[in-house]
Assembly symmetry: C2
Protein backbone atom coordinates (compact mmCIF):
# COMPACT_ATOMS: atom_id res chain seq x y z
CA UNK A 1 0.00 0.00 0.00
CA UNK A 2 1.44 3.42 -0.85
CA UNK A 3 2.48 5.70 2.00
CA UNK A 4 -0.18 8.08 3.30
CA UNK A 5 2.19 10.91 4.09
CA UNK A 6 5.41 12.25 2.65
CA UNK A 7 7.58 14.05 5.15
CA UNK A 8 10.71 16.03 4.28
CA UNK A 9 13.10 17.29 6.96
CA UNK A 10 15.21 20.21 5.76
CA UNK A 11 18.24 21.23 7.82
CA UNK A 12 19.22 24.71 6.63
CA UNK A 13 22.80 25.67 7.43
CA UNK A 14 24.71 28.95 7.20
CA UNK A 15 21.54 31.06 6.98
CA UNK A 16 21.39 34.84 7.40
CA UNK A 17 21.04 35.36 11.18
CA UNK A 18 19.13 38.62 10.74
CA UNK A 19 16.47 36.84 8.66
CA UNK A 20 16.24 33.97 11.16
CA UNK A 21 15.63 36.44 13.99
CA UNK A 22 12.77 38.25 12.23
CA UNK A 23 9.32 36.72 12.69
CA UNK A 24 7.89 38.52 9.65
CA UNK A 25 10.70 37.33 7.37
CA UNK A 26 10.44 33.74 8.60
CA UNK A 27 6.64 33.74 8.23
CA UNK A 28 6.83 35.11 4.69
CA UNK A 29 9.52 32.55 3.81
CA UNK A 30 7.08 29.73 4.60
CA UNK A 31 3.89 31.28 3.26
CA UNK A 32 5.64 32.40 0.07
CA UNK A 33 7.00 28.91 -0.54
CA UNK A 34 3.55 27.37 -0.08
CA UNK A 35 1.91 29.91 -2.40
CA UNK A 36 4.60 29.52 -5.05
CA UNK A 37 4.24 25.75 -4.90
CA UNK A 38 0.48 25.93 -5.39
CA UNK A 39 -0.40 24.87 -1.84
CA UNK A 40 -3.36 26.18 0.14
CA UNK A 41 -2.86 27.74 3.57
CA UNK A 42 -5.53 26.91 6.18
CA UNK A 43 -4.01 28.75 9.13
CA UNK A 44 -0.65 29.66 10.59
CA UNK A 45 0.97 30.48 13.93
CA UNK A 46 4.39 32.06 14.41
CA UNK A 47 6.10 32.96 17.65
CA UNK A 48 9.17 35.07 18.31
CA UNK A 49 11.20 33.85 21.25
CA UNK A 50 13.29 35.96 23.60
CA UNK A 51 16.21 36.57 23.29
CA UNK A 52 16.03 35.21 19.74
CA UNK A 53 14.64 32.54 17.47
CA UNK A 54 11.33 32.02 15.73
CA UNK A 55 9.03 29.00 15.67
CA UNK A 56 6.29 28.75 13.11
CA UNK A 57 3.73 26.30 11.82
CA UNK A 58 1.52 26.52 8.77
CA UNK A 59 -1.42 24.16 8.39
CA UNK A 60 -2.05 23.60 4.70
CA UNK A 61 -4.77 21.54 3.07
CA UNK A 62 -1.93 19.26 2.00
CA UNK A 63 -0.80 18.91 5.70
CA UNK A 64 1.89 21.18 7.25
CA UNK A 65 5.08 23.19 6.99
CA UNK A 66 6.99 24.12 10.16
CA UNK A 67 10.20 25.93 11.00
CA UNK A 68 12.41 26.59 14.00
CA UNK A 69 15.32 29.02 13.80
CA UNK A 70 18.54 29.46 15.76
CA UNK A 71 19.95 32.85 14.66
CA UNK A 72 22.94 32.43 16.98
CA UNK A 73 23.90 29.29 15.05
CA UNK A 74 22.73 30.48 11.60
CA UNK A 75 20.62 27.32 11.52
CA UNK A 76 16.97 26.55 10.80
CA UNK A 77 15.04 23.27 10.75
CA UNK A 78 12.04 23.13 8.40
CA UNK A 79 9.62 20.22 7.87
CA UNK A 80 7.16 19.70 5.09
CA UNK A 81 4.51 17.03 5.52
CA UNK A 82 2.05 16.33 2.71
CA UNK A 83 -0.53 13.74 1.78
CA UNK A 84 -1.02 13.87 -1.95
CA UNK A 85 1.08 14.89 -4.93
CA UNK A 86 0.27 18.62 -5.11
CA UNK A 87 3.39 20.11 -3.62
CA UNK A 88 6.92 19.58 -4.94
CA UNK A 89 8.96 19.04 -1.77
CA UNK A 90 12.29 19.92 -3.37
CA UNK A 91 10.92 23.17 -4.74
CA UNK A 92 9.39 24.19 -1.40
CA UNK A 93 12.65 23.37 0.39
CA UNK A 94 14.67 25.42 -2.09
CA UNK A 95 12.34 28.40 -1.71
CA UNK A 96 12.47 28.38 2.09
CA UNK A 97 16.26 27.97 1.97
CA UNK A 98 16.63 30.89 -0.43
CA UNK A 99 14.35 33.14 1.63
CA UNK A 100 16.43 32.49 4.75
CA UNK A 101 19.75 32.85 2.96
CA UNK A 102 20.84 29.25 3.56
CA UNK A 103 24.16 28.29 1.99
CA UNK A 104 23.71 24.56 2.48
CA UNK A 105 20.65 22.32 2.86
CA UNK A 106 20.42 18.73 4.04
CA UNK A 107 17.15 16.96 3.24
CA UNK A 108 15.86 13.68 4.59
CA UNK A 109 12.57 12.24 3.38
CA UNK A 110 10.47 9.85 5.45
CA UNK A 111 7.40 7.97 4.23
CA UNK A 112 4.60 7.89 6.80
CA UNK A 113 1.83 5.35 7.28
Amino acid sequence: MPALGHHSLFDLHECDPAKLADRAVVREALLGAIRAGGGTVVTDAFHQFSPHGVSGVVVITESHLTVHTWPERAFAAADLFTCGPTLDHDAVGRMVAAALGAQRTECRTVERG
Copy 2:
Protein backbone atom coordinates in the same frame (compact mmCIF):
# COMPACT_ATOMS: atom_id res chain seq x y z
CA MET B 1 28.56 19.71 18.83
CA PRO B 2 25.31 18.33 20.27
CA ALA B 3 22.21 18.39 18.08
CA LEU B 4 20.03 21.50 18.38
CA GLY B 5 16.74 19.73 17.87
CA HIS B 6 15.34 16.33 18.73
CA HIS B 7 12.58 15.19 16.42
CA SER B 8 10.43 12.10 16.97
CA LEU B 9 8.11 10.78 14.28
CA PHE B 10 5.31 8.63 15.71
CA ASP B 11 3.28 6.49 13.31
CA LEU B 12 0.15 5.44 15.21
CA HIS B 13 -1.57 2.38 13.81
CA GLU B 14 -4.95 0.77 14.51
CA CYS B 15 -6.34 3.85 16.23
CA ASP B 16 -10.01 4.42 17.08
CA PRO B 17 -11.48 5.96 13.87
CA ALA B 18 -14.13 7.90 15.81
CA LYS B 19 -11.43 9.61 17.88
CA LEU B 20 -9.35 10.40 14.78
CA ALA B 21 -12.37 12.05 13.14
CA ASP B 22 -13.13 14.35 16.06
CA ARG B 23 -11.23 17.64 16.12
CA ALA B 24 -11.86 18.19 19.84
CA VAL B 25 -10.59 14.73 20.79
CA VAL B 26 -7.48 15.08 18.62
CA ARG B 27 -6.74 18.57 20.00
CA GLU B 28 -7.11 17.39 23.60
CA ALA B 29 -4.88 14.37 22.85
CA LEU B 30 -2.03 16.71 21.93
CA LEU B 31 -2.61 19.44 24.50
CA GLY B 32 -3.08 16.87 27.27
CA ALA B 33 0.17 15.12 26.37
CA ILE B 34 2.07 18.43 26.42
CA ARG B 35 0.56 19.43 29.75
CA ALA B 36 1.22 16.04 31.32
CA GLY B 37 4.81 16.13 30.11
CA GLY B 38 5.41 19.55 31.63
CA GLY B 39 5.58 21.42 28.32
CA THR B 40 4.28 24.94 27.74
CA VAL B 41 1.80 25.65 24.96
CA VAL B 42 2.32 28.92 23.07
CA THR B 43 -0.48 28.55 20.54
CA ASP B 44 -2.31 25.89 18.57
CA ALA B 45 -4.24 25.47 15.34
CA PHE B 46 -6.46 22.49 14.46
CA HIS B 47 -8.48 21.95 11.33
CA GLN B 48 -11.18 19.40 10.54
CA PHE B 49 -11.16 18.29 6.94
CA SER B 50 -14.16 17.21 4.89
CA PRO B 51 -15.15 14.39 4.59
CA HIS B 52 -12.83 13.35 7.43
CA GLY B 53 -9.45 13.77 9.03
CA VAL B 54 -7.93 16.33 11.36
CA SER B 55 -4.68 18.26 11.09
CA GLY B 56 -3.29 20.04 14.09
CA VAL B 57 -0.19 21.86 15.20
CA VAL B 58 0.80 23.03 18.65
CA VAL B 59 3.63 25.52 19.07
CA ILE B 60 5.27 24.92 22.42
CA THR B 61 8.11 26.83 24.03
CA GLU B 62 10.10 23.63 23.51
CA SER B 63 9.23 23.69 19.73
CA HIS B 64 6.21 21.79 18.28
CA LEU B 65 3.85 18.84 18.28
CA THR B 66 1.79 18.10 15.16
CA VAL B 67 -0.69 15.45 14.07
CA HIS B 68 -2.51 14.35 10.94
CA THR B 69 -5.23 11.72 11.10
CA TRP B 70 -6.73 9.30 8.57
CA PRO B 71 -9.87 7.87 10.24
CA GLU B 72 -10.60 5.74 7.18
CA ARG B 73 -7.27 3.98 7.70
CA ALA B 74 -7.26 4.13 11.53
CA PHE B 75 -3.88 5.86 11.19
CA ALA B 76 -2.35 9.03 12.59
CA ALA B 77 1.10 10.58 12.16
CA ALA B 78 2.37 12.68 15.07
CA ASP B 79 5.66 14.59 15.29
CA LEU B 80 7.32 16.01 18.35
CA PHE B 81 10.19 18.46 17.85
CA THR B 82 12.01 19.86 20.86
CA CYS B 83 15.16 21.81 21.62
CA GLY B 84 16.13 21.12 25.18
CA PRO B 85 15.64 18.28 27.62
CA THR B 86 12.30 19.28 29.18
CA LEU B 87 9.95 16.90 27.42
CA ASP B 88 10.22 13.11 27.51
CA HIS B 89 9.51 12.12 23.89
CA ASP B 90 8.57 8.53 24.70
CA ALA B 91 6.10 9.66 27.35
CA VAL B 92 4.47 12.22 25.04
CA GLY B 93 4.21 9.64 22.26
CA ARG B 94 2.61 7.11 24.61
CA MET B 95 0.07 9.66 25.83
CA VAL B 96 -0.95 10.72 22.33
CA ALA B 97 -1.17 7.06 21.27
CA ALA B 98 -3.34 6.18 24.26
CA ALA B 99 -5.65 9.17 23.71
CA LEU B 100 -6.25 8.12 20.10
CA GLY B 101 -6.65 4.43 20.94
CA ALA B 102 -3.57 3.31 18.97
CA GLN B 103 -2.81 -0.40 19.19
CA ARG B 104 0.67 -0.11 17.71
CA THR B 105 3.21 2.75 17.51
CA GLU B 106 6.31 3.05 15.38
CA CYS B 107 8.76 5.76 16.46
CA ARG B 108 11.71 7.16 14.55
CA THR B 109 13.95 9.78 16.10
CA VAL B 110 15.99 12.21 14.04
CA GLU B 111 18.62 14.60 15.40
CA ARG B 112 18.44 18.06 13.80
CA GLY B 113 21.17 20.64 13.34
